[in-house]
C-alpha cells in the first residue's frame, strides 16, 4: 500500500482504519475483506430478525396490521372529539377540488371511511373514499403491550414465569448435586462395575426423550405427576454430558488432596463436599448454565406432561398464546421478547463459560 493510500485510509475513516489494521499491524488483503463482509452479513442475518421482533413488540395493534410494515413503531395521531367516547384518529383527506383537510375518522370498512370535522362534529358524518385519505402518523411506543401482558388474564403470565423459573432452578440444583456425586464416584474411585456404570450413564445418550415419549408419559402419570412441575423435572435430571464433563474435570484434581483429607479422618462425603466440589466450580458452572438453558427452553416434554394452563411453562404459554379475543399480536410479540430475555441476559454475562463448555464437549 502506498504512502498516499495509507494516509487516505487512516484519515478517511477511523472505522475503516480500524478494520484495515489487524492484530499485529500487517496489511489487509482480499481474504480479509471477504471475511469481514461475510461476518457483517452474518451479523445482520443473525441479529435483524430478533431485533425486528423486539421493535415490533412496541408497536400498537393498528400499526402491526399495516402493510408494508413501518420500520419504527408508529401510531396515528388522534384527537378527542366531542360526542365520541374514544379519541378519533386523524387523517389528511384530499377533497375533490384538490384541497387537503384534516378530518377525524369514526369508522372505516371496505372502500369507505366515515369522517367528521374535528372542530365541528355536530355537522355530521362525511363519507370519504378510502383512497383519498392518508393517516397522520407519529412516532409512538406501545408500552401497553407489555403492561397489558403483565397484567392480563389474572396473572396467567406470572404463573407461567414462575413455573419456568421453578423448573429451571430446581432441576439445575438437583442435576448439579446428582451429577457431581456420580462424577465423583466415577473419577475418584476404582471399583468393580465402574466401567459398567459409566457406560450405562453414557448409553442414555442413545435414548433421547423424544424416542420414549409415551412410556415417559405413562411413568409420570403413574407417579401422579401429570400437571405437576415435578413431572417435567424428574425425567431429565440425569444428564450424561453433565456427568462426563464433571468427571473429566474431577480427574484433574490431584488424589493427594483426598488422601490428606482421609488421613484427617474425614468421611468420603465430607471429602466430596469440602474438597472436590469447591475445586470443581468451573465445571459446575458450565453444567449449571447448560442445565438452566435446556430447562428454560424445553418444549416437548412440558407440552405432553402439563395440560392445565396454571402449570404451563412460559414456552408452552407462548406457543399457544391467545386471549379471549383471539391472537393479539402486540402482546404475543411482547411475550416472545420477554421469554427470550432471561437467557439473553445470561448469555451476555456468562458467554465465556458457555463457549468453553461447548468447546470441551466437542473435544472429547
Amino acid at each position: 500500500m502506498t504512502e498516499a493510500n495509507r494516509r487516505l485510509t487512516t484519515a478517511a475513516s477511523p472505522a475503516w482504519a480500524f478494520m484495515a489494521r489487524k492484530h499485529g499491524g500487517t496489511r489487509a488483503d482480499w481474504t480479509d475483506w471477504v471475511t469481514y463482509g461475510y461476518l457483517l452479513l452474518g451479523t445482520a442475518v443473525m441479529l435483524v430478525p430478533v431485533l425486528w421482533v423486539v421493535i415490533s413488540s412496541f408497536k400498537s395493534e393498528g400499526n402491526l396490521t399495516q402493510f408494508p410494515p413501518t420500520l419504527w413503531p408508529e401510531a396515528i395521531e388522534s384527537l378527542e372529539v366531542k360526542g365520541y367516547n374514544r379519541p378519533l384518529p386523524l387523517f389528511k383527506v384530499t377533497r375533490e377540488d384538490g384541497s387537503v383537510v384534516t378530518l377525524a375518522q369514526v369508522r372505516r370498512v371496505g372502500i369507505e371511511a366515515q369522517m367528521v370535522v374535528p372542530e365541528h362534529p355536530e355537522a355530521g358524518l362525511v363519507v370519504v373514499p378510502v383512497e383519498r385519505t392518508q393517516a397522520i402518523r407519529k412516532f409512538y411506543i406501545a408500552t401497553e403491550n407489555y403492561t397489558k401482558l403483565l397484567d392480563s388474564a389474572g396473572g396467567q403470565i406470572w404463573s407461567s414465569i414462575y413455573n419456568s423459573v421453578f423448573i429451571a432452578l430446581v432441576a439445575t440444583l438437583i442435576t448439579l448435586v446428582m451429577n457431581s456425586m456420580a462424577a465423583f464416584a466415577l473419577s475418584k474411585y476404582r471399583f468393580a462395575g465402574s466401567n459398567f456404570a459409566l457406560l450405562a450413564i453414557l448409553a442414555t445418550l442413545m435414548v433421547p426423550p423424544t424416542v420414549v415419549l409415551v412410556p415417559i408419559y405413562l411413568i409420570v402419570s403413574e407417579l401422579g405427576l401429570v400437571n405437576n412441575l415435578w413431572g417435567v423435572i424428574l425425567p431429565v435430571i440425569s444428564t450424561p454430558t453433565g456427568v462426563f464433563l464433571l468427571r473429566q474435570y474431577m480427574l484433574t484434581i490431584p488424589d493427594e488432596l483426598l488422601e490428606a483429607a482421609r488421613m484427617d479422618h474425614a468421611s468420603e462425603w465430607r471429602i466430596f463436599w469440602r474438597v472436590v466440589l469447591p475445586l470443581s466450580t468451573p465445571a459446575l458452572a458450565v453444567v449449571g448454565i447448560f442445565s438452566i438453558m435446556s430447562r428454560w427452553n424445553e418444549f416437548l416434554l412440558p407440552l405432553i406432561v402439563l395440560n392445565k394452563p396454571e402449570v404451563y411453562t412460559l414456552q408452552i404459554a407462548l406457543a399457544g398464546y391467545t386471549d379471549e379475543n383471539g391472537i393479539v399480536y402486540g402482546m404475543l410479540l411482547a411475550m416472545t421478547t420477554l421469554t427470550a430475555l432471561p437467557l439473553a441476559l445470561v448469555f451476555i454475562f456468562l458467554q465465556r463459560y458457555i463457549t468453553t463448555g461447548i468447546a470441551s464437549t466437542g473435544i472429547k
Binding site: 480500524f18 489494521r21 489487524k22 492484530h23 481474504t31 480479509d32 469481514y36 461475510y38 461476518l39 443473525m46 441479529l47 430478525p49 425486528w52 421482533v53 415490533s56 402493510f67 408494508p68 410494515p69 451429577n179 456425586m181 464416584a185 465402574s194 456404570a197 450405562a200 448409553a203 442413545m206 435414548v207 423424544t210 424416542v211 420414549v212 415419549l213 409415551v214 412410556p215 415417559i216 408419559y217 405413562l218 411413568i219 402419570s221 431429565v236 440425569s238 468421611s267 468420603e268 462425603w269 469447591p278 438453558m293 427452553n297 418444549f299 405432553i304 414456552q315 407462548l318 410479540l333 416472545t336 421469554t339 437467557l343 439473553a344 461447548i358 468447546a359 470441551s360 466437542g362 473435544i363
Partner: protein, 336 residues
C-alpha cells in the same frame, strides 16, 4: 480483581454456605453408610440417584415402549391393553410401493420418514458448512472476534418457540420480508403456504438457530492447530485454498466427525421449531418423524399409543446405529 469478580466471588461463597447446610445434614447419614458398606462399595451410593433416574426414565421406558408396540387399544395402562403381536409394525411398514407413500397403510408415517430422510442430509450439510466457514472466518486475526462469536452463537440461546415465532413474524404474508421485497417492486410471496418453500425455510430456520453451537466446537478445534504449521505454509507461499485442503481439513477431521454425528443425531429429532413454524404443513410437507410420533401418540383422539411406540422404537434403532458408528469411529481415531 475488579469489582465484578469480587462480587462474583462473594456471591459464590454465599451460595456455597447456603448449599452446605443440607450437606452438613447429610453427613451423618453418609458417614454411617460409609461405615456400614465400607469405602469399596460407597461409590454405588454416590451413583444411586443418577442410576435410579436412568433406570426409571431411560431404561424402563424402552422396555415399556416395546410392550406398547406389541399391544393395541387406546388405553394408557399396559395392563388394560391386549396383545396384538407385530401388527403395529406391520401396519407401519406395509406399503405396496415404498416409493409412493400414498400406497402405504400409514401414509403419513412414510411421508414423515421421507421428509426426514431429505431434511437431515441437507440441513446437516448446510449447517456444518456454515459453521465451518464461520469458524474459519473467526479463526483469523480479526478485530472484535469475541463480539462476532457472540453474535453467531446467540440464536442457540433462544428457545425453539422464540425462534419459530420470530421467523413466523417475518415470513407472514404481511411480514417484514414481504415488506422488503415489496419495496423493491416484487409481489408478496406466501412463504410458508407452498410446500417446497416451507421445507426450505424449515431448513433455514433450524440452521439459523443451531449453527452457532457447532461453530464453537469447530472454532476450538481450529484453535488447537498450532500456529507454526501455518507459518511454515506461508513461507512456502501456499494459497489459502491449499492451506485449507492440505493442512486445516485433515487436522480438523476428528472434530469435524464429532460435529457431524452430533448434528445428525439432533437433526433427526427436530420437532420444536418446525412444529410452531409450519405445524407440519402445508399438508404434510414439513412433518418430520418426531412430529408424527407426537401426533399419533398425543394429538389425535383416540390416541394410538401402539403405533407411536412402534415408530419410536424404529427411530431409536436408527439413532442407536448412528451413535454406535460414532463410538466406533472415535475409538478408532483416538491416538492414545
Amino acid at each position: 480483581m475488579n469489582a465484578a469478580s469480587r462480587l462474583n466471588d462473594k456471591l459464590v461463597r454465599f451460595l456455597w454456605s447456603v448449599a452446605s447446610l443440607p450437606a452438613r445434614g447429610m453427613e451423618p447419614v453418609m458417614a454411617g453408610l460409609q461405615r456400614a458398606l465400607g469405602v469399596g462399595r460407597l461409590p454405588w451410593v454416590f451413583l444411586l440417584p443418577n442410576l435410579t433416574i436412568i433406570a426409571m426414565f431411560s431404561a424402563l421406558p424402552v422396555l415399556i415402549n416395546i410392550l406398547y408396540s406389541i399391544t393395541g387399544s387406546d388405553n394408557l395402562y399396559p395392563g388394560d391393553r391386549h396383545f396384538v403381536g407385530l401388527s403395529n409394525y406391520e401396519t407401519l411398514l406395509s406399503c405396496e410401493s415404498y416409493l409412493d407413500p400414498s400406497t402405504c397403510s400409514r401414509d403419513l408415517f412414510w411421508r414423515a420418514v421421507r421428509n426426514t430422510l431429505v431434511f437431515v442430509p441437507i440441513q446437516v450439510t448446510v449447517m456444518v458448512a456454515f459453521a465451518l466457514g464461520t469458524a474459519l472466518a473467526l479463526n483469523r486475526k480479526i478485530r472484535a472476534r469475541g463480539f462476532f462469536r457472540g453474535i453467531f452463537f446467540f440464536p442457540v440461546m433462544l428457545s425453539p418457540v422464540v425462534v419459530a415465532m420470530t421467523w413466523v413474524w417475518l415470513l407472514q404474508r404481511d411480514g417484514a420480508l414481504n415488506g422488503m421485497i415489496g419495496a423493491i417492486g416484487f409481489d408478496r410471496v406466501s412463504w410458508l403456504t407452498d410446500s417446497a418453500r416451507a421445507f426450505k425455510w424449515s431448513i433455514f430456520v433450524t440452521v439459523w438457530a443451531h449453527m452457532g453451537f457447532y461453530m464453537i466446537i469447530l472454532l476450538a478445534g481450529l484453535q488447537s492447530i498450532p500456529a507454526d504449521i501455518y507459518e511454515a505454509a506461508k513461507m512456502d507461499r501456499a494459497t489459502p485454498w491449499r492451506v485449507f485442503r492440505r493442512i486445516t481439513l485433515p487436522l480438523l477431521k476428528p472434530v469435524l466427525l464429532v460435529v457431524f454425528i452430533l448434528a445428525v443425531i439432533r437433526s433427526v429429532q427436530t420437532f420444536d421449531e418446525i412444529y410452531i413454524l409450519t405445524g407440519g404443513g402445508p399438508g404434510s410437507a414439513t412433518k418430520l418423524i418426531v412430529h408424527y410420533i407426537y401426533e399419533t401418540g398425543f394429538a389425535v383422539m383416540p390416541r394410538n399409543y401402539g403405533l407411536a411406540a412402534a415408530a419410536s422404537l424404529l427411530l431409536g434403532l436408527v439413532l442407536f446405529i448412528f451413535t454406535a458408528i460414532q463410538m466406533r469411529l472415535s475409538k478408532g481415531g483416538r491416538n492414545d
